[in-house]
């Protein structure tokens, strides 16, 4: 015998409905927890580094160099900070023009070279940075010795695919009508790209470069194999120059408290610099999109 129940759509009348709702609620909570855990880990890292770093960080940290003996208390990372700025600066000067030019070749001209380049750029992003450091060691350091230039070359290779990718994305966002309008005026292809397409994409290109710079400042592995860590301020790019990341790495793995204290302050400084570039990039892109 079949009992026909009244079709009231409440949980008590429809079997299993209450359970399904409970599952639904549980999943919502679970997913939210996942996000919270992620953010909590981020906070944990930042707060911990800040707490440890602030114990030692002072204005003297930016103006003094580390002591010769790592066990000695005191000193700072002035040489590493200067070294990072110089080395990443040179790497930027190398990688940005080549990167934007390659992005132009891929997006504006297309063709088989462009397709291959696009694919290989994605491959290059996945090459471990230690491998890039080893490569530069073979072709440069082996012949000319450790130097800031070698480290810059390695970092330029790390930055190159990032610049190409970001630039290509920005160039693609420039509406085609603008290229057509320029062509309709009888302006040549090259001129159109230089005078219309690139300026229109400019703020996006800057954002991409800043993000690549932020990434390069934090890199240690490519620098590890191409330059040397020491306690002297060096501004000659042909000579070995240490970076902030290298100093932190070297000091962190010693057993000495004094060295580790410096390393924490250095870590806080490095995060600060990276965040300045990363957030700065966001601000540039936000201001740009509010203008257009």
């Amino acid at each position: 015998m079949i009992t026909v129940r009244p079709h009231a759509p409440t949980a008590s009348h429809v079997p299993g409905l209450a359970r399904r709702h409970a599952t639904d609620r549980a999943m919502t909570v679970l997913l939210a927890v996942a996000v919270l855990v992620t953010i909590a880990v981020l906070a944990w890292v930042l707060v911990y580094v800040a707490a440890q770093g602030l114990k030692y960080l002072g204005p003297g940290f930016f103006t003094s160099t580390p002591p010769g003996n790592p066990a000695t208390v005191g000193g700072g990372y002035a040489n590493g900070i200067i070294g990072s700025l110089i080395i990443v600066g040179i790497a930027t000067v190398i990688s940005v023009p080549i990167g934007i030019a390659a992005a132009v070749a891929v997006t504006e001209y297309g063709g088989r070279l462009a397709a291959v380049t696009g694919f290989l750029t994605d491959v290059l992003v996945g090459v471990p940075t230690i491998v890039i450091g080893a490569f530069i060691w073979v072709i440069w350091v082996d012949r000319f010795g450790f130097s800031a230039l070698a480290a810059s070359a390695a970092l330029a290779i790390v930055m190159l695919p990032l610049v190409i990718r970001a630039s290509a994305e920005m160039l693609r966002l420039v509406p085609d009508v603008l290229r057509e309008a320029s062509a309709a005026l009888g302006v040549t292809r090259a001129r159109t790209i230089i005078s219309v397409v690139l300026p229109t994409a400019l703020s996006g290109l800057i954002t991409g470069v800043m993000l690549a710079v932020a990434r390069a400042m934090g890199e240690t592995a490519p620098v590890l194999l191409t330059t040397l860590n020491d306690q002297f301020v060096q501004v000659n790019p042909a000579k070995p120059m240490t970076t902030l990341s290298l100093q932190i790495f070297t000091d962190a793995i010693t057993g000495f408290r004094a060295a580790q204290a410096r390393a924490w302050a250095g870590a806080l400084t490095l995060i600060g610099i990276v965040l300045i570039f990363a957030i700065g990039a966001r601000l540039v892109s936000r201001r740009a999109s509010s203008i257009t």
Partner: protein, 337 residues
């Protein structure tokens, strides 16, 4: 009357011939040549990396034989002499094992969290919350590797001790696989490296998942709801089911990122290079960590060259995994081309 057609490149206009403004044509050609050269540089670079790495490692490859490196998990530079070619003291199996193990642990932890976070951000969070949440998750990627390693040693590992001390007696007691979870636990370990890697790959995997989930068409979602499904059931049907390949692709790409990570791993893995350590709570090494660790002190015969053999293998593995990941996700993401 002849027929004219365009060339294959997008936007290419190739009228033949020069008339009054030969210089303009030349300028265009020079410009195009210049940017094409820049693009070609990427191709040359990748080829050069492979060639020079193998070139530097060639003496060791020739001396011991190419495949002998894969035949052994014993890496003992002190055993090496200039004359003996067998057995190969530079077996790299444990580095491959270490790389694989730490990356897999990292992905096992990161993938569920990334999928969950991606779902929450795209399907549950109100519109105004989406950008800030995404931004915060992405910020994890801004933290430099050396900082993660440093924090890993002093903050994470102490926090892992109670967890691991719980797991060792419970999982370590299981017959058969128990040896994989055996103590002692000294902090630095495959497991610690895996946890750090999980945190480091989380942002990229979450970002890809977000992209994939955001493409689920609204009509399908509404149709599911209209059929009387709860929100979670709708997501399982209209979002997750169609995102399968995207999630797999994200996992593979995250794996690729984990494989290449060096500095954070070398700081928390313990750098025990002699052979494979059976327990995940024991110390070990990866392809990348051994290079970073021994590069400046490789004085034994063929030690330095063998490190380049390691580098070559690392390059191959990382590139293959990355290409596989891109291949799987190419329908769901843009990519460069």
């Amino acid at each position: 009357m002849a027929s004219r057609s365009s060339s294959s490149g997008a936007g290419a206009v190739q009228p033949a011939g020069i008339r009054l403004h030969g210089t303009r044509r030349l300028g265009d050609r020079v410009f195009r040549g210049g940017v094409s050269a820049a693009a070609a540089l990427v191709v040359i670079l990748l080829a050069a990396i492979a060639v020079f790495l193998i070139g530097q490692g060639w003496p060791a490859l020739r001396h011991y034989g190419v495949f002998s490196f894969l035949a052994s998990d014993r890496w003992a530079p002190s055993d090496a002499t200039a004359a003996s070619t067998h057995p190969n003291p530079y077996g790299i199996l444990q580095f491959i094992y270490g790389t694989a193990l730490t990356s897999v642990i990292g992905m096992l932890i990161a993938l569920p969290v990334a999928v969950a976070a991606g779902l929450f951000i795209t399907q549950y969070a109100p519109a105004w919350l989406r950008r800030p949440l995404s931004y915060l998750v992405d910020l994890l990627a801004a933290v430099p590797s050396v900082v993660y390693g440093f924090w890993g040693i002093f903050a994470l590992i102490p926090a892992l001790h109670p967890v691991v001390n719980f797991l060792i007696p419970t999982l370590g007691g299981i017959p058969g696989i128990g040896v994989v979870f055996a103590g002692p636990f000294f902090g630095v370990s495959y497991f610690a490296a895996g946890v750090v890697l999980a945190i480091m790959v989380l942002p990229i995997v979450t970002a890809i998942c977000r992209e994939v989930f955001a493409t689920a068409p609204a009509d399908e979602k509404e149709a599911a709801l209209a059929l009387g499904m709860t929100r979670w059931e709708m997501i399982r049907l209209a979002v997750l089911r169609r995102s399968r390949s995207g999630i797999i692709g994200a996992a593979i790409l995250g794996l690729g990122r984990a494989i290449g990570e060096t500095i954070a791993v070398t700081m928390v893995i313990g750098n025990s290079v002699l052979s494979i350590t059976k327990s995940i709570f024991g110390q070990g090494a990866t392809l990348s960590s051994v290079i970073a660790n021994e590069f400046t002190e490789a004085v034994e015969p063929y030690h330095f060259q063998s490190l380049f053999v390691v580098a070559a293998w690392l390059l191959v593995i990382a590139v293959v995994v990355n290409i596989a990941g891109r291949f799987v996700t190419r329908q769901t993401r843009g990519g460069l081309v």
